[in-house]
């Protein structure tokens, strides 16, 4: 039996959802026009007033908001409420330039936690469960979001935060954690470590995992499910929009339901900005229609994916997004070819390697080069050098088939690539012209 956290919303008819969206969008546009000079200026530049937006069908008229816009507006430029009404900030782990800071009213936090609760219930969570949140707490949204969702569902919540693998495993075993929330790479690492400790999946009390904040492949899902003996569910979100829980997987494990009562999703051509028909692959764009403190209109996520309104066996009616093929921030253009780190992961797992790798992109004599560093595994090791060389060759061939370009493979010692307790550094791009 499929369970829902808010069945009347999650299984509402398409007409009802559209009616909510129309009403909330108009209200939101009016709100930002009145309260955020930045939006008003952008709309005026396009000759728009709130009266021009009468519903979802007019959404395409509005200008986009990009991550650069958010950085420019740092810190208060996009805040739509007086700071006395705001109760929290969260911030992205920006690697370059200014951070992005998002603001929340108490109501915003409440709705965000509802979204996370929907994800936990969709993964089979009830108040009988013990939910270990091993996402980082603090400015990162992973920990606080799932923590709040877990409370709403009524799970006994273990706020371990990230890191200290030994202690993570101790709590999972001693307190019989049944649900694990963390990044997929950390879940894989926990699984690997427990396997090394000689624990079989039967000896691990976990039954489900909610893993997000990173791109991960179906192969990685299979291997995590196998080592931990769980069902692994994907969850999607961006700090800019609230955090995890913008979309989440259901029992079908084939795409994530977007919480359309809070977010309107569009797919656009990343080059032209044109809205693409349903089923097309393109860049995901979100409009947050219920956010009070930090509303975003047509925010370009840089994530490349596909939307589907095909009916889902779980009974939920909200549109599903495919697993992103990778953030287009992650998308590399190497020798003129689009390369996503997730493609490399797929090949590695298929060839019996761990998904722990690093891509080194460089430019030598005006030609792009790609090196993939892969950790040797006990299964793939042999005392016979020729056998290792043969396996390396077959990995090179498989990468070539997947990517369309040559990648040099470099086998490295186990655990020599820095492990991710937060987000993994998969790409080192040395090309600076």
């Amino acid at each position: 039996m499929e369970r829902y956290y808010q069945p009347e919303i999650e299984c509402a008819s398409r007409e009802t959802i559209l009616a909510w969206q129309n009403e909330r969008l108009c209200k939101q546009v009016k709100n930002v026009w009145d309260n955020v000079p930045y939006y008003r200026r952008k709309m005026e530049e396009k000759g728009l007033t709130p009266d021009d937006i009468r519903g979802v069908e007019d959404l395409h008229k509005l200008p986009f908001v990009t991550k650069d816009d958010l950085r420019e507006a740092y810190p208060y430029g996009l805040v739509a409420r007086p700071l006395r009404d705001c109760v929290r900030i969260q911030s992205t782990s920006g690697t370059t330039g200014k951070r992005v800071v998002a603001f929340y009213t108490q109501h915003d936090l409440d709705l965000w936690e509802d979204c996370c609760a929907r994800a936990i219930v969709a993964a089979g969570g009830t108040h009988e469960d013990v939910c270990q949140v091993s996402y980082g707490y603090g400015l990162f949204t992973g920990g606080p979001g799932l923590n709040g969702g877990s409370h709403k569902v009524g799970c006994l919540t273990i706020p371990t935060s990230s890191g200290n693998t030994e202690r993570q495993i101790m709590f999972i075993r001693d307190l019989n954690a049944t649900i694990l929330c963390c990044t997929p790479s950390y879940a894989a690492y926990l699984g690997e470590t427990m396997k090394e400790m000689g624990l079989s999946p039967d000896e691990i009390p976990l039954k489900a995992g909610i893993f997000g904040a990173e791109a991960w492949s179906e192969e990685m899902r299979r291997s995590i499910q196998e080592t931990l003996g769980i069902k692994a569910y994907d969850i999607y979100g961006l700090t800019e929009l609230s955090g995890p829980g913008v979309a989440f997987e259901c029992s079908e494990q084939s795409g994530m339901h977007i919480n359309e009562d809070h977010f309107i999703a569009e797919i656009i051509d990343p080059q032209t900005g044109e809205v693409l028909p349903e089923g097309s692959q393109g860049e995901l764009v979100f409009t947050s229609i219920t956010k009070e403190a930090f509303p975003l209109l047509r925010y370009r996520t840089r994530d490349i994916c596909v939307l589907s309104r095909k009916s889902c066996s779980c009974g939920r009616t909200h549109v599903k997004m495919s697993k992103p093929r990778g953030r287009s921030d992650d998308m590399l253009i190497i020798k003129g070819v689009n390369v996503f780190p997730s493609q490399i992961e797929t090949v590695l797992l298929a060839q019996g390697y761990q998904a722990n790798y690093q891509m080194i992109v460089d430019r030598v004599n005006n030609t792009d080069t790609l090196e993939v560093q892969v950790e040797m595994t006990p299964e793939n090791f042999s005392d016979n050098l020729a056998q290792i060389t043969q396996m390396e060759k077959s990995l090179v061939a498989a990468l070539k088939a997947m990517l369309g370009i040559y990648a040099k493979v470099r086998l490295v010692a186990p655990k020599s690539i820095a492990r991710s307790e937060g987000k993994a550094v998969r790409v080192i791009d040395k090309r600076k012209i």
Binding site: M376, P378, L385, I388, T389, R410, V412, S416
Partner: protein, 143 residues
């Protein structure tokens, strides 16, 4: 009659070999033979230790990837043509040698070679049939 060889994955990184011999020396483990096969990027270190179990445990604790490989040691007269004689026998009997290397120093005035083949049982019986005695672990001072 087989001897336990420890095969270790080597990353192409300066100081890795020193690191391995260092941790083994710290545990009082003595090496009887050592051999490296490598490409420009990585390699395989093969070693024979006086205490293979302790050596393997020590290296696993250090996070190295390794495997235990059965090999056969044979005494070879330390004189011109000594090794050729052994190899002739193996060639005649169609035994493919994957690799071979020598043991440090001499035991009872004899040099020793380590052979890695696919079928160690066959190698042992061929050696015996041809009057070449495989050396036991004990005779090489291996526990």
């Amino acid at each position: 009659m087989t001897i336990h060889q420890i095969s270790v994955f080597l990353e192409n990184r300066a100081g890795q070999l020193a690191e391995i011999t260092g941790v083994l020396a710290q545990k009082g483990i003595d090496l009887r033979a050592i051999n490296i096969a490598e490409t420009s990027d990585y390699g395989v270190l093969r070693l024979i230790a006086d205490n293979p179990q302790a050596a393997a445990t020590t290296l696993l604790e250090q996070g190295f990837i390794l495997s235990m490989t059965p090999v056969v040691a044979v005494s070879v007269p330390d004189q011109p043509g000594g090794l050729a004689k052994v190899l002739d026998v193996l060639a005649k009997e169609n035994i493919d040698v994957e690799y071979m290397y020598s043991v440090f120093g001499q035991v009872n005035g004899l040099a020793h070679m380590v052979f890695r083949v696919a079928d160690t049982d066959k190698l042992i019986s061929v050696l015996k049939d041809n009057g070449l005695e495989p050396i036991s672990s004990e005779n090489l001072g291996i526990r």
